[in-house]
Symmetry: C2
Subunit: 183 residues, 2 copies
DNA sequence: GCCCTCATGTAATATGTTACATGATTTG
DNA sequence: CAAATCATGTAACATATTACATGAGGGC
């Protein structure tokens, strides 16, 4: 079976939910997958085009004749198969996040402790905001649990985000103490 | 001051250590920064060229006339300034890792629990290997602590890797239990 | 002699971001 | 009626990966 890139699989996956337009796909990823995936319109629209060309989805312009065409995408059988097939494939490798803060800290010897502390503090603050966002999303999903068949899986990925973020926050706290101590 | 991309700053940073050739830079990143950064030769050599063109480093072909030119790069004053300047700049944003496993898990409803469990198990195994690698590197750095001026900063970044990886492993354990329970 | 590591580099390709253009519909 | 949101799309650019080519030197 032909291979596609992650962007394509991500979009195929989203199309199993109720998101059917390019715009809605962007919303979904920004709101619910934002802790492990992101995407831009510059990827979405060309990829949707490709998906249709490949026969993985069909486009159905909204039937309401008065409205300007809102392109709604529906997975074909082939599309569903391609998605299932990819889901089963083993994970190639665990991701390497490119972390700007760690890169700077790695060369921290060339900077004053004061500035390093400031950056760590800022980073910690951002992580805390992120953590709060996750908790919020968790609440939202839990509240209408029955409605959404995917809910339990979404909560698993959120739990990942929360745990890892919490560990990172604790690291910040510890490292801030250590660096402050040094001088 | 002119802006460069992360790849450029990463290489400028590495050049403050004893890595002076393109090959050595690749080694260094693969071995010591691999938990938060990666790079390919296709980036290194063109970037080194740019760095010299911009006057951020000078190239000094190894003096030994018998050997074939081994290009050694040395930061110029301007190079050091550009690096320092970047180190002080605030972090733009906390990274969004693109996590293939979480993407698949998000759509886990469309797969059998058995297969999901298998993938989670594999992922956990890889994380454990990674954790062991970090511990190994930590030992190596700690052992010749006095020698390397950067050691304490390197240990901080390693600690980050260990903490976050540990949290991810614990999440795997928990999630594996939950999913196994479901059926 | 063969394989491995050291060492440099490029070209083709793949992927992703940013900025822009356009216009409808909804909400206050 | 203004502003925000919904909605689609592209072009230029930036970035990164992969595969390949080349060759020296050292160890077995």
């Amino acid at each position: 079976m032909k291979n596609y890139n992650y962007t394509t699989y991500a979009i195929l996956g989203i199309l199993t939910t109720d998101c059917r337009t390019g715009y809605a796909i962007k919303q979904m990823i920004d709101r619910s997958l934002n802790h492990f995936w992101k995407i831009s319109y510059g990827q979405i629209y060309p990829t949707l085009k490709l998906i249709v060309e490949e026969g993985l989805a069909t486009i159905s312009v909204s039937p309401d004749e008065t409205k300007p065409g809102k392109n709604e995408y529906y997975l074909t059988l082939k599309g569903k198969e391609v998605l299932k097939n990819w889901l089963e494939e083993p994970i190639e490798q665990i991701p390497v996040e490119r972390n700007e803060l760690l890169l700077k800290l790695f060369f921290g010897r060339h900077q004053s402790n004061e500035k390093t502390v400031h950056q760590l503090g800022e980073y910690k603050r951002k992580l805390e905001t992120r953590y709060a966002t996750y908790t919020g999303i968790e609440q939202a999903i839990t509240n209408d649990l029955g409605k959404e068949a995917d809910a339990s899986y979404w909560l698993f990925t959120l739990d990942y985000g929360k745990r890892v973020t919490k560990a990172a926050i604790e690291w910040c706290t510890f490292t801030l103490e250590e660096i402050s101590k040094e001088e």
